[in-house]
Subunit: 202 residues, 2 copies
DNA sequence: CTCTCTATGTAAGCACTGGTTACTTTACGC
DNA sequence: GCGTAAAGTAACCAGTGCTTACATAGAGAG
């Protein structure tokens, strides 16, 4: 950023890009990705609407940036929740973090996993790079439980664990299940049981 | 419908409501719920935009009607896929039907499970009435596999089965997994195994 | 210490949207 | 036949995404 850094009535904003992302994030969390406009974000930053398009060539670009932030938040929460735990407890903690994130921030969760964001992420690199950290945390936890190496985790097991957590998260965040529906916990329990019953490879 | 039934240049359309739904369904399937406008649907029906609002007080109303049609299609496909099967095979067929539906018609699937549609459905009746048929088909299949009564199916088992199928469907329809990712099948397999290993109650 | 180059911002405008309002046309039941 | 209410029209409002032509200012070269 080689341009001016003043932010009081000056012609240049200083860090408009980040200001737009911050505002968009808060609006997405509060009311969803469709609820705010580029003009509104620009207005909030005290800038004309055209200026916003200097930083994001389209609204979707801003939303992708917000979604990326969302994945970082998710990864961080998962890491915090599972810190100091191990075995099945660690598995549960991760699943719970995923579900809690979705139910606390449904609009953000929806945006992150929207077709558009996943498409944009895919276009920008190898597939699993999108959900990278949270997913690798899950893989590691499963490796520990089944006593194997992370690289050799049973892919079927990973698939059920992921899809179960994602399914429960989605059902809650779309309002099919309620926020503290016991079914979400029950589903996670079953997955833990399944992981524990897997033959332990050396 | 007590009004005129002509549809060639006459002042009244005949069945505008259904025409709007039909058009909206095809547009949703093709390009998603956000891709078309009320005006466009009216135009396609050869009618002014205001006329459309006579039948649906807002665009969301039309979309809810489309989503309801979607649930009927899903239930029908699930029934067809599982017809003539039994036991674990029946379970798999249902799971596959759910996933196939989502991957064949991602935009419709997304609409059906959108916050808005689920909210609208909830406001209109008891909760599980939204996904009624497909869900009760799953419950029945689990009852058969675990040798119990439909009313007494293990809720945990139902929860994993549903969330796994829904999770895989969501991941595919949002482009995280590809259409024929082996992980979806693997996840279903694990669920079948789990159901089969449940103690058979008399 | 100018002078230019480029990132950044502005203002105005286009085509369109969801949704409303006042008014017309039509068909049925009495 | 005729009033009533459903069904349709045209015109409008505020707001949107995005573009284009123009203004401003900061940094680095001369």
């Amino acid at each position: 950023m080689w341009c001016g850094k003043n932010d009081r009535g000056e012609y240049h904003h200083g860090d408009l890009r980040q200001a737009l992302i911050d505002y968009a994030l808060s609006r997405v969390r509060a009311d969803g990705a469709e609820a705010f406009s580029m003009r509104e974000a620009a207005r909030a930053a005290g800038v004309s609407s055209g200026a916003a398009y200097r930083h994001f060539s389209e609204k979707d670009g801003l939303l992708v940036a917000v979604a990326q932030g969302g994945f970082q938040i998710l990864a961080k929460k998962a890491a915090q929740a599972s810190a100091g735990t191990s075995g099945a407890e660690r598995l549960r903690a991760l699943g719970n973090a995923y579900i809690t994130f979705a139910s606390d921030d449904p609009n953000l969760f929806r945006l992150m996993f929207s077709q558009m964001c996943m498409g944009a992420a895919k276009a920008a690199g190898p597939q699993e790079l999108t959900v990278p950290s949270a997913l690798s945390q899950l893989r590691d936890a499963l490796a520990e439980v089944t006593g194997t190496d992370s690289a050799e985790v049973d892919e079927s097991l990973l698939a059920v664990a992921w899809s179960t957590a994602h399914g429960a998260a989605s059902l809650i965040c779309d309002g099919v299940w309620t926020k503290d529906d016991t079914r979400a916990q029950a589903a996670l329990d079953e997955v833990c049981r399944m992981a524990l019953s897997k033959p332990i490879k050396k």
